[in-house]
Protein backbone atom coordinates (compact mmCIF):
# COMPACT_ATOMS: atom_id res chain seq x y z
CA UNK A 1 0.00 0.00 0.00
CA UNK A 2 2.96 2.27 0.54
CA UNK A 3 3.64 1.90 -3.19
CA UNK A 4 0.08 2.88 -4.06
CA UNK A 5 0.06 6.08 -2.03
CA UNK A 6 3.50 7.05 -3.28
CA UNK A 7 2.30 6.60 -6.88
CA UNK A 8 -0.74 8.74 -6.10
CA UNK A 9 1.50 11.37 -4.50
CA UNK A 10 3.73 11.37 -7.57
CA UNK A 11 0.98 11.55 -10.22
CA UNK A 12 -1.86 13.36 -8.40
CA UNK A 13 -4.72 14.17 -10.75
CA UNK A 14 -3.17 12.16 -13.61
CA UNK A 15 -3.60 8.90 -11.73
CA UNK A 16 -6.73 7.02 -10.71
CA UNK A 17 -6.95 4.02 -8.42
CA UNK A 18 -8.74 1.07 -10.03
CA UNK A 19 -10.84 -1.00 -7.61
CA UNK A 20 -13.39 -3.46 -9.04
CA UNK A 21 -13.63 -1.46 -12.26
CA UNK A 22 -17.39 -1.87 -12.59
CA UNK A 23 -17.90 1.91 -12.84
CA UNK A 24 -14.48 3.26 -13.79
CA UNK A 25 -13.90 0.92 -16.75
CA UNK A 26 -17.30 1.69 -18.36
CA UNK A 27 -16.47 5.40 -18.00
CA UNK A 28 -13.13 4.82 -19.68
CA UNK A 29 -14.75 2.67 -22.39
CA UNK A 30 -17.23 5.43 -23.17
CA UNK A 31 -14.45 8.03 -23.16
CA UNK A 32 -16.21 9.96 -20.40
CA UNK A 33 -12.93 10.21 -18.56
CA UNK A 34 -9.28 9.38 -19.14
CA UNK A 35 -6.17 9.12 -17.02
CA UNK A 36 -2.50 8.94 -17.82
CA UNK A 37 -2.06 6.34 -15.11
CA UNK A 38 -4.34 3.71 -13.63
CA UNK A 39 -3.20 2.28 -10.30
CA UNK A 40 -4.62 -1.24 -9.97
CA UNK A 41 -5.45 -2.10 -6.36
CA UNK A 42 -6.46 -5.70 -7.05
CA UNK A 43 -3.26 -7.25 -5.81
CA UNK A 44 -2.87 -5.14 -2.67
CA UNK A 45 -3.61 -7.75 0.02
CA UNK A 46 -3.97 -5.23 2.87
CA UNK A 47 -6.99 -3.73 1.15
CA UNK A 48 -9.11 -6.90 1.46
CA UNK A 49 -11.09 -8.33 4.35
CA UNK A 50 -13.53 -7.77 7.18
CA UNK A 51 -12.37 -7.44 10.78
CA UNK A 52 -14.29 -6.81 13.98
CA UNK A 53 -12.85 -4.94 16.95
CA UNK A 54 -14.33 -3.14 19.97
CA UNK A 55 -17.86 -3.25 18.66
CA UNK A 56 -16.80 -1.80 15.32
CA UNK A 57 -16.55 -3.59 12.00
CA UNK A 58 -13.81 -2.54 9.63
CA UNK A 59 -14.26 -3.45 5.98
CA UNK A 60 -11.18 -2.93 3.87
CA UNK A 61 -11.88 -1.01 0.68
CA UNK A 62 -11.21 -3.78 -1.85
CA UNK A 63 -13.54 -6.27 -0.17
CA UNK A 64 -15.74 -7.48 -3.01
CA UNK A 65 -19.47 -6.85 -2.81
CA UNK A 66 -19.96 -10.62 -3.19
CA UNK A 67 -17.81 -11.13 -0.07
CA UNK A 68 -19.75 -8.47 1.88
CA UNK A 69 -22.96 -10.24 0.84
CA UNK A 70 -21.94 -13.55 2.43
CA UNK A 71 -19.81 -12.34 5.36
CA UNK A 72 -21.23 -13.55 8.69
CA UNK A 73 -19.73 -10.66 10.69
CA UNK A 74 -21.34 -8.11 8.37
CA UNK A 75 -24.70 -9.92 8.46
CA UNK A 76 -24.63 -9.99 12.26
CA UNK A 77 -23.13 -6.62 13.13
CA UNK A 78 -23.99 -4.38 10.16
CA UNK A 79 -27.21 -5.97 8.88
CA UNK A 80 -28.13 -2.97 6.75
CA UNK A 81 -25.07 -3.49 4.54
CA UNK A 82 -25.99 -7.16 4.19
CA UNK A 83 -29.55 -6.24 3.18
CA UNK A 84 -28.43 -3.60 0.66
CA UNK A 85 -25.82 -5.68 -1.16
CA UNK A 86 -28.07 -7.92 -3.31
CA UNK A 87 -29.52 -4.73 -4.83
CA UNK A 88 -26.15 -3.79 -6.35
CA UNK A 89 -25.99 -4.61 -10.06
CA UNK A 90 -25.96 -8.34 -10.81
CA UNK A 91 -23.99 -11.21 -9.32
CA UNK A 92 -21.33 -10.90 -12.04
CA UNK A 93 -20.88 -7.23 -11.07
CA UNK A 94 -20.72 -8.04 -7.34
CA UNK A 95 -18.01 -10.63 -8.01
CA UNK A 96 -15.68 -7.78 -8.98
CA UNK A 97 -17.23 -4.62 -7.51
CA UNK A 98 -15.88 -3.49 -4.15
CA UNK A 99 -17.31 -1.62 -1.19
CA UNK A 100 -14.57 1.01 -1.30
CA UNK A 101 -14.93 1.52 -5.03
CA UNK A 102 -18.65 2.04 -4.70
CA UNK A 103 -18.26 4.55 -1.87
CA UNK A 104 -15.37 6.43 -3.51
CA UNK A 105 -17.23 6.62 -6.82
CA UNK A 106 -20.11 8.26 -4.90
CA UNK A 107 -22.85 7.77 -7.43
CA UNK A 108 -25.90 9.29 -5.69
CA UNK A 109 -28.03 6.36 -6.90
CA UNK A 110 -25.80 3.64 -5.48
CA UNK A 111 -26.52 1.61 -2.36
CA UNK A 112 -23.43 1.63 -0.13
CA UNK A 113 -23.07 5.43 0.11
CA UNK A 114 -26.65 5.71 1.44
CA UNK A 115 -26.05 2.93 3.95
CA UNK A 116 -22.77 4.49 5.07
CA UNK A 117 -24.47 7.84 5.56
CA UNK A 118 -27.44 6.36 7.43
CA UNK A 119 -25.19 4.39 9.78
CA UNK A 120 -22.72 7.25 10.42
CA UNK A 121 -19.90 5.13 9.05
CA UNK A 122 -16.34 6.41 8.92
CA UNK A 123 -13.94 6.47 5.98
CA UNK A 124 -10.29 5.67 6.60
CA UNK A 125 -8.23 7.60 4.06
CA UNK A 126 -4.50 7.23 3.49
CA UNK A 127 -1.90 9.32 1.73
CA UNK A 128 1.88 9.50 1.67
CA UNK A 129 1.68 11.76 4.73
CA UNK A 130 -0.48 9.46 6.89
CA UNK A 131 -4.00 8.31 7.59
CA UNK A 132 -7.08 10.32 8.50
CA UNK A 133 -10.68 9.47 9.29
CA UNK A 134 -13.66 11.25 7.80
CA UNK A 135 -17.24 10.75 9.03
CA UNK A 136 -19.86 9.90 6.39
CA UNK A 137 -21.64 13.23 6.95
CA UNK A 138 -18.52 15.04 5.63
CA UNK A 139 -17.51 12.46 3.04
CA UNK A 140 -19.99 12.96 0.19
CA UNK A 141 -19.42 16.46 -1.17
CA UNK A 142 -21.43 16.37 -4.40
CA UNK A 143 -22.24 14.02 -7.27
CA UNK A 144 -19.18 11.77 -7.81
CA UNK A 145 -17.18 14.06 -5.48
CA UNK A 146 -15.91 12.98 -2.08
CA UNK A 147 -13.48 14.10 0.61
CA UNK A 148 -10.81 11.85 -0.91
CA UNK A 149 -8.16 14.07 -2.56
CA UNK A 150 -6.39 12.97 -5.79
CA UNK A 151 -3.28 11.96 -3.83
CA UNK A 152 -5.30 10.01 -1.28
CA UNK A 153 -6.74 6.50 -1.17
CA UNK A 154 -9.88 5.24 0.56
CA UNK A 155 -8.50 2.35 2.59
CA UNK A 156 -11.42 1.08 4.67
CA UNK A 157 -14.86 1.82 6.05
CA UNK A 158 -15.71 1.49 9.70
CA UNK A 159 -19.16 0.89 11.16
CA UNK A 160 -20.06 0.69 14.83
CA UNK A 161 -22.48 -2.08 15.71
CA UNK A 162 -25.73 -1.02 17.37
CA UNK A 163 -25.88 -2.22 20.96
CA UNK A 164 -29.61 -1.79 21.46
CA UNK A 165 -32.71 -3.59 20.20
CA UNK A 166 -32.86 -2.67 16.53
CA UNK A 167 -34.59 -3.35 13.23
CA UNK A 168 -33.18 -2.76 9.74
CA UNK A 169 -34.61 -2.72 6.23
CA UNK A 170 -33.53 -1.72 2.73
CA UNK A 171 -35.40 -1.45 -0.54
CA UNK A 172 -35.35 0.48 -3.78
CA UNK A 173 -37.43 1.18 -6.85
CA UNK A 174 -35.79 0.37 -10.19
CA UNK A 175 -37.19 -0.12 -13.67
CA UNK A 176 -35.52 -3.53 -13.91
CA UNK A 177 -33.72 -5.70 -11.38
CA UNK A 178 -30.10 -4.56 -11.20
CA UNK A 179 -30.67 -1.19 -12.82
CA UNK A 180 -29.71 1.98 -11.05
CA UNK A 181 -32.45 2.82 -8.57
CA UNK A 182 -34.87 5.68 -9.20
CA UNK A 183 -35.11 5.95 -5.43
CA UNK A 184 -34.04 3.82 -2.49
CA UNK A 185 -34.09 3.82 1.29
CA UNK A 186 -31.89 2.34 4.01
CA UNK A 187 -33.46 2.36 7.47
CA UNK A 188 -32.29 1.43 10.96
CA UNK A 189 -34.47 1.94 14.05
CA UNK A 190 -33.19 1.36 17.59
CA UNK A 191 -35.16 1.37 20.83
CA UNK A 192 -34.44 1.60 24.55
CA UNK A 193 -35.56 -1.01 27.09
CA UNK A 194 -39.02 0.57 27.24
CA UNK A 195 -39.49 0.23 23.47
CA UNK A 196 -39.04 3.93 22.71
CA UNK A 197 -37.12 4.92 19.63
CA UNK A 198 -33.74 6.33 20.63
CA UNK A 199 -31.93 6.00 17.30
CA UNK A 200 -33.36 6.57 13.85
CA UNK A 201 -31.20 6.28 10.74
CA UNK A 202 -32.83 6.90 7.38
CA UNK A 203 -30.61 7.10 4.32
CA UNK A 204 -31.93 7.78 0.83
CA UNK A 205 -30.43 7.22 -2.61
CA UNK A 206 -31.32 8.49 -6.05
CA UNK A 207 -33.20 11.52 -4.77
CA UNK A 208 -30.49 14.16 -4.63
CA UNK A 209 -26.99 15.09 -5.81
CA UNK A 210 -25.53 12.92 -3.03
CA UNK A 211 -26.97 10.25 -0.76
CA UNK A 212 -29.20 12.05 1.73
CA UNK A 213 -30.57 11.51 5.22
CA UNK A 214 -34.28 11.96 5.81
CA UNK A 215 -33.76 14.23 8.83
CA UNK A 216 -37.45 15.13 9.12
CA UNK A 217 -38.35 11.46 9.32
CA UNK A 218 -35.63 10.76 11.87
CA UNK A 219 -36.74 13.70 14.04
CA UNK A 220 -40.38 12.58 13.92
CA UNK A 221 -39.45 9.05 15.01
CA UNK A 222 -37.25 9.94 17.98
CA UNK A 223 -38.93 9.32 21.34
CA UNK A 224 -41.97 7.56 19.88
CA UNK A 225 -42.99 4.15 21.16
CA UNK A 226 -41.97 1.91 18.25
CA UNK A 227 -45.26 0.05 18.49
CA UNK A 228 -47.25 3.28 17.96
CA UNK A 229 -45.28 4.77 15.06
CA UNK A 230 -47.22 5.04 11.80
CA UNK A 231 -44.47 4.43 9.24
CA UNK A 232 -46.46 5.49 6.19
CA UNK A 233 -47.55 8.79 7.71
CA UNK A 234 -44.03 9.57 8.95
CA UNK A 235 -42.41 8.34 5.71
CA UNK A 236 -44.22 11.04 3.76
CA UNK A 237 -42.12 13.67 5.56
CA UNK A 238 -39.13 12.41 3.56
CA UNK A 239 -40.39 14.39 0.53
CA UNK A 240 -39.08 17.55 2.26
CA UNK A 241 -35.61 16.05 2.69
CA UNK A 242 -35.12 15.25 -1.00
CA UNK A 243 -33.59 17.25 -3.80
CA UNK A 244 -34.31 15.09 -6.85
CA UNK A 245 -33.68 15.88 -10.49
CA UNK A 246 -35.83 14.69 -13.37
CA UNK A 247 -34.35 12.70 -16.22
CA UNK A 248 -35.43 10.30 -18.94
CA UNK A 249 -36.18 7.61 -16.35
CA UNK A 250 -38.44 9.59 -14.00
CA UNK A 251 -39.47 13.17 -13.32
CA UNK A 252 -38.31 14.92 -10.16
CA UNK A 253 -41.89 14.92 -8.90
CA UNK A 254 -42.25 11.18 -9.47
CA UNK A 255 -38.99 10.51 -7.62
CA UNK A 256 -40.16 12.64 -4.70
CA UNK A 257 -43.55 10.94 -4.43
CA UNK A 258 -42.41 7.38 -5.09
CA UNK A 259 -39.34 7.91 -2.90
CA UNK A 260 -41.31 9.11 0.11
CA UNK A 261 -43.82 6.27 -0.25
CA UNK A 262 -40.85 3.91 -0.37
CA UNK A 263 -39.34 5.44 2.79
CA UNK A 264 -42.65 4.67 4.56
CA UNK A 265 -42.57 1.09 3.33
CA UNK A 266 -38.98 0.48 4.32
CA UNK A 267 -39.66 2.11 7.69
CA UNK A 268 -42.55 -0.32 8.14
CA UNK A 269 -40.17 -3.17 7.34
CA UNK A 270 -37.63 -2.01 9.94
CA UNK A 271 -40.35 -1.54 12.60
CA UNK A 272 -41.78 -5.00 11.85
CA UNK A 273 -38.34 -6.53 12.26
CA UNK A 274 -37.89 -4.64 15.53
CA UNK A 275 -41.20 -5.97 16.89
CA UNK A 276 -40.24 -9.47 15.85
CA UNK A 277 -36.81 -9.16 17.48
CA UNK A 278 -38.37 -7.88 20.70
CA UNK A 279 -40.83 -10.76 20.59
CA UNK A 280 -38.05 -13.30 20.09
CA UNK A 281 -36.36 -11.69 22.97
Amino acid sequence: MADVVSLLAEHGDDAKPLAGGQSLVPMLAMRLTRFEHIVDLNRVGELFGVTADNGAVRIAAMTRQAAVETDATVAHRVPLLHLATPHIGHFQIRNRGTIGGSVAHADPASEYPAVMLALDGTAEIASASGTREVPAAEFFESTFMTAVAPDELLVALRFSAWDQQAGFAFDEIARRSGDFALAGAAVGIGTDAAGRINRAAVGMLGVGPTPLRASSVEAALMGLAAADADPHEIGRLAADDMDPIGDVHASADYRRRAGSTLVGRVLAGALAQLTQEAHNG
Binding site: Q22, V25, A29, I38, F91, R96
Partner: protein, 162 residues
Protein backbone atom coordinates in the same frame (compact mmCIF):
# COMPACT_ATOMS: atom_id res chain seq x y z
CA UNK B 1 2.03 3.35 -27.86
CA UNK B 2 2.36 2.17 -24.32
CA UNK B 3 4.67 -0.69 -23.43
CA UNK B 4 3.57 -4.22 -23.98
CA UNK B 5 3.41 -6.21 -20.78
CA UNK B 6 3.98 -9.93 -21.02
CA UNK B 7 1.44 -12.10 -19.32
CA UNK B 8 0.38 -15.67 -18.90
CA UNK B 9 -2.96 -17.16 -18.01
CA UNK B 10 -4.73 -20.48 -18.23
CA UNK B 11 -7.54 -20.33 -20.78
CA UNK B 12 -9.82 -23.37 -20.92
CA UNK B 13 -7.12 -25.52 -19.37
CA UNK B 14 -4.27 -24.40 -21.65
CA UNK B 15 -1.56 -21.95 -20.77
CA UNK B 16 -1.63 -18.85 -22.95
CA UNK B 17 1.32 -16.53 -23.00
CA UNK B 18 1.02 -13.19 -24.64
CA UNK B 19 1.74 -9.51 -24.39
CA UNK B 20 -0.70 -6.69 -24.02
CA UNK B 21 -0.82 -2.98 -23.58
CA UNK B 22 -2.24 -2.19 -20.15
CA UNK B 23 -5.36 -0.75 -21.79
CA UNK B 24 -6.29 -3.97 -23.64
CA UNK B 25 -9.40 -5.55 -22.14
CA UNK B 26 -9.46 -9.19 -21.16
CA UNK B 27 -12.27 -9.67 -23.68
CA UNK B 28 -10.12 -8.41 -26.54
CA UNK B 29 -7.18 -10.51 -25.37
CA UNK B 30 -9.34 -13.64 -25.25
CA UNK B 31 -10.80 -12.99 -28.70
CA UNK B 32 -7.70 -11.82 -30.52
CA UNK B 33 -4.83 -13.65 -28.86
CA UNK B 34 -6.41 -16.75 -27.32
CA UNK B 35 -8.80 -16.97 -30.32
CA UNK B 36 -11.79 -17.61 -28.07
CA UNK B 37 -14.26 -15.85 -30.32
CA UNK B 38 -17.14 -17.25 -28.26
CA UNK B 39 -16.46 -14.26 -26.01
CA UNK B 40 -18.90 -11.83 -27.58
CA UNK B 41 -18.74 -8.08 -27.22
CA UNK B 42 -22.12 -6.40 -27.26
CA UNK B 43 -21.99 -3.15 -25.34
CA UNK B 44 -18.36 -3.07 -24.15
CA UNK B 45 -19.36 -1.30 -20.95
CA UNK B 46 -20.65 -4.00 -18.65
CA UNK B 47 -24.36 -3.90 -19.34
CA UNK B 48 -25.19 -6.69 -21.80
CA UNK B 49 -23.31 -9.63 -20.27
CA UNK B 50 -22.34 -11.18 -23.65
CA UNK B 51 -18.65 -11.22 -22.70
CA UNK B 52 -19.16 -13.10 -19.41
CA UNK B 53 -16.37 -15.57 -18.60
CA UNK B 54 -15.30 -17.40 -15.47
CA UNK B 55 -12.20 -16.00 -13.80
CA UNK B 56 -10.93 -18.39 -11.12
CA UNK B 57 -14.41 -19.91 -11.15
CA UNK B 58 -16.39 -16.69 -10.78
CA UNK B 59 -18.54 -15.15 -13.50
CA UNK B 60 -17.20 -11.72 -14.50
CA UNK B 61 -17.55 -9.24 -17.34
CA UNK B 62 -14.41 -9.65 -19.43
CA UNK B 63 -14.96 -6.23 -21.04
CA UNK B 64 -14.51 -4.59 -17.61
CA UNK B 65 -11.19 -6.25 -16.86
CA UNK B 66 -7.83 -5.48 -18.38
CA UNK B 67 -5.91 -8.46 -19.70
CA UNK B 68 -2.97 -7.64 -17.42
CA UNK B 69 -5.26 -8.04 -14.42
CA UNK B 70 -5.83 -11.67 -15.36
CA UNK B 71 -2.13 -12.52 -15.37
CA UNK B 72 -1.88 -15.86 -13.56
CA UNK B 73 -5.64 -16.44 -13.53
CA UNK B 74 -7.67 -19.41 -14.71
CA UNK B 75 -10.18 -18.32 -17.33
CA UNK B 76 -13.04 -20.42 -18.68
CA UNK B 77 -14.91 -19.18 -21.75
CA UNK B 78 -17.97 -20.77 -23.32
CA UNK B 79 -15.58 -22.91 -25.38
CA UNK B 80 -14.23 -24.49 -22.20
CA UNK B 81 -17.42 -25.50 -20.42
CA UNK B 82 -17.98 -28.83 -22.17
CA UNK B 83 -15.47 -31.63 -21.57
CA UNK B 84 -14.67 -32.10 -25.30
CA UNK B 85 -15.62 -30.99 -28.81
CA UNK B 86 -18.20 -33.74 -29.24
CA UNK B 87 -20.17 -32.97 -26.08
CA UNK B 88 -22.30 -30.09 -24.93
CA UNK B 89 -22.42 -28.88 -21.35
CA UNK B 90 -25.88 -29.56 -19.78
CA UNK B 91 -26.57 -25.81 -19.90
CA UNK B 92 -25.79 -25.72 -23.64
CA UNK B 93 -27.90 -28.81 -24.21
CA UNK B 94 -30.79 -27.21 -22.35
CA UNK B 95 -30.57 -23.96 -24.35
CA UNK B 96 -30.86 -26.02 -27.54
CA UNK B 97 -33.73 -28.15 -26.23
CA UNK B 98 -35.76 -25.24 -24.85
CA UNK B 99 -35.27 -22.73 -27.67
CA UNK B 100 -33.18 -20.55 -25.36
CA UNK B 101 -31.54 -18.82 -28.32
CA UNK B 102 -32.39 -17.39 -31.68
CA UNK B 103 -29.63 -15.29 -33.24
CA UNK B 104 -27.17 -16.62 -30.66
CA UNK B 105 -25.21 -13.42 -30.05
CA UNK B 106 -26.00 -13.21 -26.34
CA UNK B 107 -25.90 -16.98 -25.83
CA UNK B 108 -22.27 -17.50 -24.75
CA UNK B 109 -22.72 -14.95 -21.96
CA UNK B 110 -25.97 -16.53 -20.88
CA UNK B 111 -24.52 -20.03 -20.90
CA UNK B 112 -21.51 -19.03 -18.80
CA UNK B 113 -23.65 -16.99 -16.40
CA UNK B 114 -26.22 -19.77 -15.98
CA UNK B 115 -23.47 -22.36 -15.41
CA UNK B 116 -22.02 -20.17 -12.62
CA UNK B 117 -25.46 -19.36 -11.23
CA UNK B 118 -26.41 -23.06 -10.97
CA UNK B 119 -23.09 -23.86 -9.35
CA UNK B 120 -23.95 -21.39 -6.57
CA UNK B 121 -27.66 -22.19 -6.47
CA UNK B 122 -28.32 -25.74 -7.75
CA UNK B 123 -32.04 -25.72 -6.99
CA UNK B 124 -33.39 -22.26 -7.88
CA UNK B 125 -37.01 -21.13 -7.92
CA UNK B 126 -38.30 -19.44 -11.08
CA UNK B 127 -38.00 -16.10 -9.32
CA UNK B 128 -34.37 -16.81 -8.44
CA UNK B 129 -33.71 -17.87 -12.04
CA UNK B 130 -35.08 -14.56 -13.30
CA UNK B 131 -32.80 -12.69 -10.89
CA UNK B 132 -29.91 -14.94 -11.90
CA UNK B 133 -30.22 -14.11 -15.59
CA UNK B 134 -31.00 -10.40 -15.05
CA UNK B 135 -27.40 -9.46 -15.78
CA UNK B 136 -27.59 -10.72 -19.37
CA UNK B 137 -29.58 -9.14 -22.14
CA UNK B 138 -31.26 -11.01 -25.00
CA UNK B 139 -32.83 -8.85 -27.71
CA UNK B 140 -34.50 -11.47 -29.91
CA UNK B 141 -35.72 -14.71 -28.37
CA UNK B 142 -37.04 -13.29 -25.12
CA UNK B 143 -36.52 -14.87 -21.77
CA UNK B 144 -39.15 -17.63 -21.48
CA UNK B 145 -37.01 -20.20 -23.29
CA UNK B 146 -33.94 -19.15 -21.30
CA UNK B 147 -35.79 -19.58 -18.00
CA UNK B 148 -37.01 -23.00 -19.16
CA UNK B 149 -33.47 -23.95 -20.22
CA UNK B 150 -32.10 -22.93 -16.83
CA UNK B 151 -34.76 -25.02 -15.12
CA UNK B 152 -33.91 -28.04 -17.28
CA UNK B 153 -30.16 -27.63 -16.78
CA UNK B 154 -30.68 -27.43 -13.01
CA UNK B 155 -32.58 -30.72 -13.07
CA UNK B 156 -29.94 -32.43 -15.24
CA UNK B 157 -27.05 -31.17 -13.14
CA UNK B 158 -28.78 -32.43 -10.01
CA UNK B 159 -29.00 -35.83 -11.67
CA UNK B 160 -32.75 -35.88 -12.18
CA UNK B 161 -32.44 -36.71 -15.88
CA UNK B 162 -34.36 -34.80 -18.52
Amino acid sequence: MADQISLSMTVNGRTRRGAAEPRLTLADFLREQALCTGVHLGCEHGVCGSCTVLMDGEAVRSCLLFAVQADGAHITTVEGLAPDDETLHPVQEAFRDCHGLQCGFCTPGFVVSVAAFLEANPDPSDDEIRHGIAGNLCRCTGYQGIVAATRQAAAVLKGEGQ
